[in-house]
Symmetry: C2
Subunit: 140 residues, 2 copies
DNA sequence: ATAGTTGTAATAAGTTCAGTTACATCAAAA
DNA sequence: TTTTGATGTAACTGAACTTATTACAACTAT
């Protein structure tokens, strides 16, 4: 199992917008050319980013713009915008309540799973788009 | 995206073995009945756990046994046994090297992704099977 | 030799992902 | 007002993964 590439595509997208907005009109075709995926894929991801309040999109005239300052956008914001699963793990549905383990498996594991997911999300929240942008500019 | 239920099934499996080995013969049918999935699914997961050195399986006569002490088995061991992806995130394949962002996206994100994955895995490594077994016995 | 179990292959249905085509809609600008 | 270039979205496709299920050869204790 892997997360879909939507997360890295969305991050790449936001970096491009942060880098080029004002200078160029950042359209789905512009982004598709940098990221090298289909423009419709970009438009769908831009739609998710827009629904989460991370970007604004000019319908008609075209172009995507950050809706927040780059230091207010974290990797966690991006992740949550494009990966909408509540829980990281798919739990088997109907453990047998007549088995001592089947009866208790949820009470034993649910909190653990939350903690694991939180560890991942907390780490994601540590990195902002502005940090990534600085890194990118250094390595350009 | 969610991880498959193999992780929770494998954990449930190991808890059952830890609880019942010696007392009952823990077969794939026994486990399937507690977990409420198909016995073939169990046999495949037991095969993965066995390949990772977590359990031993008696071919012919039947039955699964822990190959390590419960306090030497962590959730990370279980996770790695059943989820074999190297990297948690699927990176888009061919960013455009003619774009300043496309050119640098890997150097900017690869280490972040590793850090995020490590945060998750480190948290998984904190919990042992013996801790889960204690919890289960308390709640029985 | 029997019985019960494991290992494994094959099939199937359901879901997700990503690519692609097509087109209605929209807003600025000519 | 018409043109132009975008966006939003639907539909379809092929690939991959998940889980359930059937079937059966191989194995080992009794």
């Amino acid at each position: 199992m892997q997360f879909s590439s939507r997360f890295t595509i969305a991050t790449h997208t936001l970096l491009c917008i942060a880098m080029f907005q004002g200078e160029y009109k950042v359209t789905s075709n512009f982004l598709a050319s940098s990221i090298n995926v289909n423009p419709v894929v970009i438009r769908n991801i831009l739609g998710q980013l827009s629904a989460s309040g991370l970007v604004e999109i000019k319908v008609g005239v075209g172009g995507a713009y950050l809706a927040k300052s780059p230091d207010e956008i974290t990797l966690l914001d991006i992740f949550k915008a494009v990966e909408r699963e509540e829980s990281l793990f798919h739990f088997h549905e109907n453990p047998n309540p007549e088995c001592p383990i089947g009866r208790t498996i949820h009470s034993v594991m649910d909190k653990k799973i939350d903690t694991i997911q939180s560890a991942m999300e907390n780490e994601m929240a540590e990195t902002t788009l502005s940090q990534l942008l600085e890194d990118a500019k250094k390595n350009m």
